[in-house]
Amino acid sequence: MLERLQRLVMRLETLLVCVSLLLLLALTLGQILARNFLETGIPHADTIARLLLLYVTFFGAALATAHDRHIKVDVIAHWLSPVWRNRLFRPVQFLGMVVSCLLAVAAWRFWQDEWQFAAQSDRWHVLVNLILPTGFGLLTLHFLFALLLGEKREHRQT
C-alpha cells in the first residue's frame, strides 16, 4: 500500500518535472527567437523561467530523495560494513525528515507573509511560489517513505 503510494507520488513528480523542464527549454528558445526575429520578447518570460527553475529544483530534489541520490559527504559511512550502513539508514532518514519538515513549516510561513503583502497584480507570482512549502513537504514525505519502508535493494546496490 505504502509502496504503491510512493510510486504514485514519484510518477506525479516525474510528470511535473518533465513538463517544467520542457517548458523552461521552450520558453528560453522562444525568447531567443522572439528577440532576434520579431524584435520583441515574451511577456514575463524571465520571471516564468526562473519559477520553472524552482519547480525543476524541488521535483528533482524530491526524486533524488526517493532514489537516495542526494549529494553526501559520507566519509565514514563509505568505510562501514553493509550491516552497519543498513542500521544507520533509518536514523538518517528520520533526521532528514525532521529537517525537511522544519523547512516546510518555515517556507509555509514565508509564503503566507508573501501572500498577505503582495499587490493584487503580483498574486499569480506568489501563488506559483507555493512550490517552496510544497517542495519541502515532498522531501519530508519521501524521507518518511524511506523511514517506513527501509532501505530498498536499488539503494543498496548503488
Binding site: 528533482g60 549529494i71 553526501k72 559511512a77 523547512l103 513549516v105
Partner: protein, 419 residues
C-alpha cells in the same frame, strides 16, 4: 550551543545525512541562536530563482544526459582514435581527449567513467597498456574537462562568487589544455616505454569517423562562438545546446526515441539538478546568517594575523583546498567554501576569476583522492577493483596534476592571459 552542534552535524554528514539537510540544520540552529525567524533561510533560497545564469544548469545537465544516452561517447572515441591513435601511446591520448571533451558536458558527475570507462578500458588493455596505467588514466580522467565550457562546476563557481561566467570559460581554456597536454605527454612516454603497437595513420579512416562525429565536435565551438560572439547569453546558449543535442540524437543519429526515453532522461537530469540546487539554496541561507554574524570578517582578521604575504596565502589556500577536495565533492565544496574564501582572496590580491580556476584545479585533484574522491568510488564500481589499488594507480597522474596545480596557482597569466 554551536560548539556542540557543528561537530555533531559534521559527524552526521560523514554518516550519510544528505548535505542539504546538514546545511539546513546548521542554518536553522544558527537562526534560532540569533533569534531570527527560520523564514530568513527561505528568503535566501527563493533568491536562487533570481540568478539568470542558473537556468543554464538544468539545461546543460539535460544536454549532457542526452549525449551520454545517445552514443556520443562511441562516436567521439572512433573519431579521436582515427585522428590520434596512430601516435605512440595514441590510444591513451585518445582516452584523455575524449574524457576531457565529454566531462565538459557531463559535469564531472561520474558519468564520464561510467559511459567511457567501460568502452576504453578493454581497448587500452587489448593494445597492451599495463592494467595499473589503464585504471589510473580512466579514474583520473573522470574530472579532466571541468575547466572547459560549458562545465557545470564553472557555472556553479560563477553563480556563487558572482563572477562573470563568460570570463571564467575564457580563463579555463589555457589551464585545461596545459593539463591535457601534460597527461598526453605522459601517455606518449608510457606508450614508447612499453613498445606498444599502434595503427598507421590513415586519412581514409578519419573522414568517415569525422562525418559521424561532426555534429558532436561542433558543440563546444558553437557554445564558445555563441557566447563570445555576443549572439546569446549563457542561459540562452544552454537552451540552444539542449535543443541541438535533442535534434542530433533524435533526428540525425536516431539513437534516442523521444516517446520512449525522454521521460527517463529528464528524470535523470532533474535528479542531478535537484540534488545540486537544493544545496545551493540552503547554503545561501546559511551564508547570509554567517555574514550577519560577521564570521567571514572574523576569519579574515584571524588569517591577517597569521598570513603575511600573497604567496603564503596561495600556499595555504592550496593545502586547505586539497584537504577539502579529498573530503567533499566539488559542487558542495564550492557552495560552502566560496563565500568564506572569496573575501580573503580579495584581501590578498587574488583575482576572483583566477581564484575560481585555482579552486576548480584543487578540487579536480580531490576527485581522485581518498577518502571520498568521487572518481575512486565510481571507478571502484565500474572496474570492480578496490579503492586503494585504484588510488595507487592514479598516483602518477595525481603527481602530474600537482605540478599543473602549481603552474596554475602561481602563474596567474595562464588564467588571465586575455586581460
Amino acid at each position: 550551543m554551536m560548539a556542540v552542534a557543528i561537530p555533531l552535524l559534521v559527524l552526521l554528514a560523514t554518516l550519510g545525512l544528505p548535505l542539504f539537510a546538514v546545511l539546513a540544520a546548521g542554518g536553522l540552529l544558527a537562526a534560532h541562536q540569533a533569534g531570527l525567524d527560520p523564514a530568513v533561510l527561505i528568503i535566501e533560497l527563493n533568491r536562487i530563482s533570481s540568478s539568470p545564469n542558473l537556468i543554464a544548469i538544468p539545461l546543460f545537465t539535460f544536454a549532457g544526459v542526452v549525449l551520454a544516452a545517445g552514443g556520443s561517447p562511441q562516436r567521439l572515441i572512433t573519431f579521436f582514435n582515427a585522428f590520434l591513435g596512430w601516435l605512440p601511446g595514441g590510444l591513451g591520448s585518445v582516452a584523455l581527449t575524449v574524457c576531457a571533451f565529454f566531462t565538459a558536458f557531463s559535469g564531472a558527475s561520474g558519468v564520464t567513467i561510467l559511459a567511457l570507462g567501460g568502452m576504453l578500458y578493454p581497448m587500452l588493455r587489448q593494445v597492451g597498456y599495463p592494467e595499473r596505467f589503464c585504471l589510473g588514466l580512466l579514474t583520473s580522467s573522470g574530472s579532466l574537462g571541468i575547466l572547459f565550457a560549458p562545465s557545470l562546476a564553472v557555472l556553479v563557481y560563477g553563480i556563487v562568487a558572482g563572477v562573470s561566467i563568460d570570463q571564467l570559460f575564457l580563463a579555463g581554456i589555457v589551464p585545461g589544455f596545459i593539463l591535457l597536454a601534460m597527461l598526453i605527454g605522459y601517455s606518449f612516454v608510457a606508450g614508447l616505454k612499453a613498445h606498444l603497437p599502434h595503427h598507421p595513420f590513415e586519412l581514409r579512416a578519419i573522414w568517415p569517423a569525422f562525418r559521424k562525429s561532426i555534429w558532436d565536435l561542433f558543440l563546444p565551438f558553437g557554445i564558445l562562438i555563441g557566447i563570445f560572439g555576443g549572439f546569446v547569453t549563457v542561459s540562452e546558449v544552454s537552451a540552444c545546446t539542449a535543443a541541438y543535442v535533442l535534434f542530433i540524437e533524435c533526428v540525425v543519429h536516431r539513437t534516442i526515441s523521444l516517446h520512449r526515453q525522454l521521460t527517463e532522461l529528464i528524470r535523470e537530469a532533474s535528479i542531478l539538478v535537484g540534488s545540486l540546487l537544493i544545496i545551493l539554496g540552503v547554503a545561501m541561507g546559511l551564508t547570509n546568517i554567517m555574514i550577519d554574524a560577521q564570521i567571514p570578517m572574523q576569519l579574515l582578521a584571524w588569517v591577517e594575523t597569521h598570513v603575511d604575504s600573497h604567496l603564503q596565502f596561495l600556499l595555504l589556500l592550496n593545502l586547505f583546498l586539497l584537504v577539502v577536495g579529498a573530503m567533499m565533492d566539488i559542487f558542495s565544496a564550492m557552495i560552502v567554501m566560496v563565500p568564506l574564501i572569496l573575501p580573503l582572496a580579495q584581501r590578498y590580491g587574488v583575482d576572483p576569476v583566477h581564484l575560481g580556476i585555482i579552486m576548480l584545479a584543487n578540487l579536480e585533484l580531490g576527485y581522485s583522492t581518498p577518502p571520498v574522491g568521487l572518481n575512486l568510488f565510481i571507478a571502484c564500481q565500474r572496474f570492480k577493483k578496490p579503492v586503494l589499488s585504484l588510488f595507487r594507480a592514479t598516483l602518477p597522474f595525481l603527481a602530474i596534476m600537482l605540478v599543473w596545480l602549481v603552474i596554475v596557482t602561481y602563474l596567474p597569466q595562464t588564467s588571465l592571459w586575455w586581460r
